[in-house]
Each structure stands twice: as structure tokens, then as C-alpha cells.
């Protein structure tokens, strides 16, 4: 049924939209970094649009889709139609802003125009070329882009609109089903052809959208321009749509089409303005940000079902000081990172030696001879390695010798400075792990940890045994590393053979002990009383034992408890009090003379009492004359 339009109206077209799927930008950023670099020449691109048989009511505008395949050649299938385009990815945001957009569109339009007028074919590839102007900010992963689809104006007016004839619709559907994709065809004596001739003024446009008000897709504009240029004054265009709303429109050209054509085609924004779009994909492409989120998300999975009340924030916010950046220190740091601890400081004064990398997972072969052949400082390199593993960690290395009891002060300026640094480090951190390779180096940290009420975890290795323990404090009287000793710790390194000085241990023991130390630390943090937790108490996350001792010869492990010893050389109240009163002077005296420490803590008195008790016992056991007779 024909509808005579009351007044002839200029033919309208539904403008095109672009949909850029985010993987397009990921691919663009990879190519820019690895291939394009500073080369900003224009590159071919493939887009695709949905096949006209697959359009649905939501396809109310023609669409060009771009995705990760767009740079490598989008595969054609029966659901989509491939479109050819170009991308011009400029190097700076200034260039993107200042480039003459009108001139650029003109240049692109001329290219499309030349392509269209190569011959008389209505090949859709020549009429559908699109262009993308873009700038990729690869620091912030922001992508500025603007899509253009050059079109050429010709003044066609619609004078009549008819419902499409059924026989033509069947003809078009048969053609679509059996022939390769076409967009515009000429109907000549019941046949559809794609090379125009003057034999007929009847055309078929297979619409690219199902706009509600029967306004055909913008692509028709270029075909009409082409027809006008080839001398067609009046045409009937059957606009085919797969939803039964096909129609036929009678069009007349208003004025002759010359070579002085006007090009339009920059895509308008959602608000109908002319301007670029910006996709900010920083959070999805920036590897550092991705690592941050992935680490957190992985931990959060524990909260889904297994441990909903797990407090991850307290773990994340811990500042942890690792005294020792060797085997134990390396493994403890990795396990802490696994738990999401972000602030880790290493203290060590050694350099990496050739025996280290196989046991110490933060070091590699090159670290053994870098720094002019001396090997890197362990603490410094360990911190760097942590950041290489996970850039989100705030790792710091302090090259420092922890003053050791039994090793006399020979350079007071240096030792005092080391003491002050260590003391400040304790103040700056929430928890301290004692992971050194000698017994005497743990004394001062034990004193400091107690005096400053820090969480102190201690891991130590024997040849095939390990000890993991948490130290007590003045509130919770759990024994420290020294509580079972009846003498003050002394120099254990001098006059020892190599096998006595080095950590000669079964290698797996360090992994086990390190992991247990970190897991115990996490359990303490989950307990409402933290380091004041009683050793038999539990949190929702489980137990918080005092000591864990394990043996690799028989693969046994035990939880033990030993209360603090009131005459302990490291954690007794006398030592804590004396340290708090005299600070470095007290420490210096202890370093120089362990008998002074034994005097302060009471071990001397204990020894004297033990000697007296021993004498008394011997007196009791003395044999008198009567017994002698009996014995004989």
C-alpha cells in the first residue's frame, strides 16, 4: 500500500555507532609497545557488524564492532559481516587534540570516495570503510578514540513510501540465503545484481538496523550518492528488514551531484555531541594494579565459606621486621606476602654467597658475584626481590649487624649506632621475626621485643629438628628462647669448625619452620588478645600454641608450653626494667660481660644457691665410720 508523503521530505538515515569491546584496547596497547612503538602510520583494521538476518529489536542503529581480533583479521562467519577500516594511533595527547579533524575526515573521505568510484560495482566493502583516530596512554592505560564513517551528501527526497511486495521480499531472502553478503543490489527484470546499469531504477538495500521509525541505516546514504553521481534522478529502494517491516521508498534527487562533495561522518557521542570517547582500563590492564587485586581477591576467597570471619585487614596492615635475610628470612617473607602482608623489612649484615641461592629463594646465582664480585648485601637484595615478585609490597632492606651478646663492644660508635637503628626499627614495626643463624644474636632482639611489647616469633633449626615459638611478655608469661638456660648466652661462633658454625640442617626444615612461624603469626593476629593470648586458648581461626617443635628423623611434631623463667637472661622483669632504665649502657655492659647480665637477672644467685644445695646434698651423703664398718 502506497503512502504518499504529504510533502516531499529529505531522506533521513540512522547514524552509525561504534562498540569497542575492551579487549581491543588491550591488543592495541600490546601492539603499540611491541610493534608500532613510535610508528604512527595508519594501519588496517577489521571491524564487524551483525549479519542482517540476525538483527533483533535492540539493533536500532547500525553498529561497527571492534574487538581483539580487529588487528589480525576478523574471521567471517554467518553471524557477522567483516568491515574494513584504518586506525591512526597518534603518539601524544596533544597531537590527538590538535590534529585538524575536518581535514583528516576529508582525507579519509577522499580515500573512501576513490574506492567507491573504482568501478560500477555495489561491493559493500568499498562503501563501508571506517576510520579510528586514537591515542593510547600506556602509563595510565587510558584510550582516547574517535570513530569516523565517511559519508557523502546528496539531496534525495522521499516522495512515497510503500509496503514492500512479498515477491520481492522472497527474492531478497532467497538471495541472502544463497549468496555471499551484499548490502545494495539492483533489481533488473526479477534478478538481483550488484553491478549497476541504467536498465532499472529499482534497488534493494538490505538494512543494517531495525530502527523503529523506518529510517534506514546510514550506509544507504553513500549508495544514493553513488547512484546520483551515475545519473540516477529517481529511484525506488526496497529497504529489506528481517523482522517483517520491509518497505519501499521512492526517492528523487534534488540537485545534481558534482565532484565538489561534502564529507561528514565523525561519530557523535551518546549526548549527540561531536567529540571523542575515552576508555580508562587502568585497573584491567596495568599489571601492577592487577597483581594487587589478584592477591587480595585470592585471599578473600577464604572468606567465602572456609573462614568468613577472617580479618584480612589486620594482616595487610602489619609492619613486619625480619631479623635475618637468609633461608628462614626468605621463606618467612614469601609466606607473609602470600598472606597479604605489605610492609616487610629485612635486617642482615651478610652478603650473598654461592651456597645461598639453592636454599634461599629470594636470591639467584648472579647475586653471588654482583656488587664488584663481593655478592649483594642480603637484606638489600631480599627487599628488591620481594618487589620483583610483587610490586605492591613495601619492602626495605637494612644492612645492619645486630649487636650480639658475648661479642665485646670494640667500636662503640658503630655498635651504639647499630643498637639505635635496631631500636628504632622495633618502634616502627608491629611484629618481629627472629631468624638469625646464631643463638647469641637473638638476645638483644628478645630484650627489645619484650620491653617494647611487640609480637615476637622465633624460628630456629637443628640438623633435623626445628623450633617455632612465640615469646611472651609482661602480661602473658610465655617462655622466651632463653628461658630454659641457666647461663647467659655467650659467643658460640669462635673456635668452631666450619660444620659447627654453618647452618648444617636438612634443607626442608627451614621451609617447614618458616611456614609454621608465619601461620602462628596469623593465628595470633586472629585472636582477640593478640600476643596476650593464653597458649591453650583458641580463636575462630584455631589455636595459638606457645611452641612447636618438630623432628624430621621421625616426622613428629609437638606443641609445647614452657612458662617464662623468673631469672631469664632475656625476658625476666629485672632485665626488662634494667634495659628500660639504662638503655644502651645496660646493653653495652651485657655485651662485654655476660656475668654482669647473669648478676642482673639473678642467674648468678641461682648458680650460687645451686652450688650450696649441691654441697648440702653431698654433706648429707657423707659416709660416717659406722657405715664404713657395715660396708666392709
Amino acid at each position: 500500500m502506497a503512502t504518499n508523503l504529504e510533502t516531499a521530505k529529505p531522506q533521513k538515515f540512522t547514524p552509525l555507532s561504534s562498540f569497542v569491546e575492551s579487549s581491543f584496547f588491550t591488543k592495541l596497547s600490546q601492539l603499540k609497545l611491541d610493534e608500532f612503538k613510535l610508528d604512527a602510520s595508519k594501519r588496517t583494521l577489521n571491524g564487524f557488524t551483525i549479519h542482517p538476518t540476525k538483527l533483533n529489536k535492540f539493533n536500532d542503529v547500525p553498529l561497527i564492532n571492534l574487538d581483539h581480533e580487529s588487528f589480525s583479521g576478523t574471521s567471517q562467519d554467518n553471524a557477522n559481516v567483516v568491515l574494513e577500516g584504518l586506525i591512526y594511533n597518534v603518539n601524544t595527547i596533544e597531537e590527538f587534540k590538535l590534529i585538524d579533524k575536518q581535514a583528516l575526515l576529508r582525507e579519509w573521505g577522499e580515500a573512501t570516495h576513490a574506492s567507491m568510484f573504482e568501478n560500477t560495482s555495489l561491493d559493500y566493502r568499498k562503501f563501508n570503510q571506517f576510520y579510528v583516530l586514537s591515542f593510547s596512554d600506556l602509563k595510565k592505560y587510558k584510550f582516547y578514540y574517535w570513530v569516523a564513517y565517511p559519508t557523502f551528501s546528496s539531496k534525495w527526497t522521499a516522495t512515497r513510501q510503500n509496503t514492500a511486495k512479498e515477491e520481492y521480499i522472497r527474492l531478497v531472502e532467497s538471495h541472502i540465503a544463497s549468496e555471499p553478503y551484499t548490502q545494495m543490489l539492483q533489481l533488473i527484470e526479477g534478478e538481483l545484481v550488484s553491478n549497476i546499469s541504467k536498465k532499472s531504477s529499482h534497488f534493494v538495500f538490505i538494512d543494517t538496523c531495525l530502527s523503529k521509525d523506518k529510517i534506514p541505516g546510514i550506509q544507504l546514504k553513500n549508495y544514493l550518492f553513488f547512484l546520483g553521481h551515475h545519473g540516477f534522478q529517481e529511484v525506488d529502494v526496497l529497504v529489506y528488514r528481517n523482522d517483517g517491516s520491509s518497505f519501499e521508498v521512492h526517492l528523487q534527487v534534488g540537485e545534481p551531484i558534482t565532484n565538489n562533495y561534502k564529507v561528514t561522518g565523525w561519530e557523535r557521542t551518546g549526548q549527540g555531541k561531536l567529540g571523542p570517547k575515552l576508555a580508562d582500563l587502568g585497573l584491567l590492564i596495568d599489571p601492577t594494579q592487577l597483581a594487587e587485586q589478584a592477591v587480595e581477591l585470592n585471599l578473600k576467597l577464604m572468606k567465602w565459606r572456609i573462614a568468613p570471619e577472617l580479618d584480612l585487614e589486620i594482616i595487610k596492615n602489619q609492619k613486619v621486621l625480619l631479623l635475618g635475610a637468609g633461608t628462614l628470612g626468605s621463606y618467612v617473607a614469601r609466606a607473609l606476602m602470600g598472606w597479604g602482608v605489605r610492609q616487610i623489612t629485612f635486617v642482615d649484615n651478610g652478603r650473598i654467597s654461592y651456597s645461598n641461592p639453592v636454599r634461599q629463594p629470594l636470591f639467584s646465582f648472579n647475586d653471588c658475584f654482583s656488587d664488584n664480585g663481593q655478592g649483594q648485601y642480603k637484606a638489600i637484595r631480599a627487599a628488591e626481590a620481594l618487589k620483583e615478585i610483587f610490586p605492591g609490597v613495601k619492602a626495605r632492606g637494612v644492612n645492619l649487624e645486630v649487636p650480639m651478646i658475648g661479642h665485646s663492644v670494640t667500636d662503640e660508635t658503630k655498635d651504639k649506632s647499630n643498637f639505635d637503628t635496631l631500636s628504632s626499627l622495633f618502634d616502627e614495626h608491629d611484629a618481629v621475626f627472629l631468624l638469625m643463624d646464631s643463638r647469641e644474636s637473638r638476645w638483644l632482639p628478645t630484650v627489645l621485643g619484650n620491653a617494647k611489647d611487640k609480637i615476637v616469633l622465633n624460628a630456629a633449626l637443628g640438623f633435623d629438628s626445628y623450633l617455632v615459638m612465640r615469646h611472651g611478655n609482661q602480661t602473658q608469661k610465655l617462655g622466651c628462647y632463653y628461658c630454659n638456660d641457666v647461663v647467659a648466652p655467650n659467643d658460640s661462633l669462635s673456635d668452631r669448625t666450619l660444620d659447627q658454625m654453618c647452618t648444617v640442617t636438612r634443607p626442608g626444615g627451614a621451609l617447614i619452620a618458616s611456614s609454621l612461624a608465619v601461620e602462628l603469626f596469623v593465628s595470633i593476629l586472629q585472636h582477640e588478645d593478640k600476643q596476650n593470648a593464653e597458649h591453650l586458648s583458641k580463636s575462630k581461626f584455631g589455636e595459638v600454641p606457645h611452641q612447636i617443635r618438630g623432628f624430621l628423623n621421625n616426622f613428629q611434631q609437638h606443641k609445647l608450653f614452657a612458662p617464662s623463667y623468673k631469672y631469664c637472661s632475656a625476658c625476666s622483669s629485672q632485665v626488662t626494667q634494667k634495659y628500660q632504665e639504662d638503655g644502651w649502657d645496660f646493653v653495652k655492659k651485657c655485651l662485654n660481660d655476660t656475668s654482669y647480665l647473669e648478676e642482673i637477672c639473678g642467674l648468678t644467685k641461682v648458680q650460687e644457691e645451686a652450688d650450696l644445695a649441691s654441697e648440702d646434698l653431698l654433706k648429707d651423703l657423707e659416709i660416717d665410720d659406722e657405715d664404713e664398718e657395715w660396708l666392709s
Partner: protein, 168 residues
């Protein structure tokens, strides 16, 4: 009915996609800030594995786009849904990785490598999908019904309850 095969999935994907988008609705509640949604793009591709991608824009106080894909996981033998969410500020679209700021079940998902694009997308993990969907299946249930049921349980509505399907 047991698992559906990848061949069955691919055979029914286009039909499922078209039924799905025809039936997708925005549930109006007093708390959710969106008044309508628009489909930005919707297509099926074969690369060589078949998937569909649909992007929709939620329009309201803060405009959002949710782009999701449906593909088949051969290990779990079930369909999988992956999605990304962008927030609009004028013409700027910003990808979100923290769904806390949207009223949705963001805790059900994690960023994971997309099965086809190999880039980070939110993923509704397919573990247990097979057993759970099977609970709702009878011996005669067809593949299309299976896919619709799966989508309700493990597709977009499981994370974004304001988006529901009302099949006719």
C-alpha cells in the same frame, strides 16, 4: 539430564542468545538507581570456540555498562559467564575492578583470565554448576531450557539481581 556437550551448546547458543536478550528485564526496586537499560551490542562469534557477547548500559543516577560473554567450559562441561563493568562519567568509561560500589553480589566473583580473550574479566566460577543445574533438570529437558536455567543460577542475574529474565 546430565551435562550438555560443547556441540549441543554451540548448536543452541544463537537461539539462547536471542531468547535471552528478548527476555532480559530490569527489575525496578526502590533501592536500585537505574531506570532503564539499553543493549549496546550483542553478537555471537566463533574463534573457533563459539561464544556470545552482550553489552548493556544501565541508565540512571550513575550510568554503567555491563559486558558479558557466555562460553562453554570443557573441563567443567558447563556454560560459563564472564563480565566486565564500566562506569560512565560523561564520555569517559572507567573499568571497575571493585564491585563494592555497585549494589550487587560482587562477592560471588573474582577477576580471572577470560577463557577466550585471556584478559582479566570477572568470572562466575563453574565449580558445582553441573550438579546444581542438574537438580532442576528432568529427563526430558531440552538444551535450550538447560541454558536458560543455567543463566538464572550462574549467569548475570546471580551477580546482578536487578537483571532478570522473563521468558515468554
Amino acid at each position: 539430564m546430565g551435562p550438555i556437550t560443547n556441540v549441543q551448546f554451540e548448536d543452541y547458543l544463537e537461539r539462547f542468545n536471542s531468547d535471552l536478550i528478548e527476555s532480559l528485564q530490569l527489575v525496578q526496586t526502590s533501592t536500585q538507581p537505574w531506570s532503564e537499560f539499553r543493549i549496546l551490542s550483542n553478537y555471537t562469534k566463533t574463534l573457533p570456540r563459539k561464544y556470545f557477547l552482550c553489552s548493556l548500559k544501565l541508565i540512571g543516577d550513575v550510568d554503567l555498562s555491563i559486558t558479558f560473554t557466555v562460553s562453554y567450559d570443557e573441563f567443567y562441561q558447563v556454560p560459563v559467564c564472564n563480565f566486565r563493568v564500566n562506569k560512565y562519567q560523561g564520555e569517559q568509561e572507567q573499568a571497575l575492578t571493585n564491585l563494592c560500589e555497585i549494589d550487587c553480589n560482587g562477592h560471588l566473583v573474582k577477576l580471572d583470565s577470560h577463557p577466550i580473550f585471556d584478559t582479566p574479566w570477572f568470572s562466575i566460577h563453574p565449580c558445582e554448576t553441573l550438579q546444581v543445574v542438574d537438580e532442576f533438570m528432568g529427563p526430558e529437558t531440552g538444551v535450550l531450557e538447560y541454558l536458560k536455567c543455567w543463566f538464572g543460577l550462574y549467569g548475570l542475574p546471580s551477580v546482578f539481581p536487578m537483571l532478570q529474565t522473563r521468558y515468554i
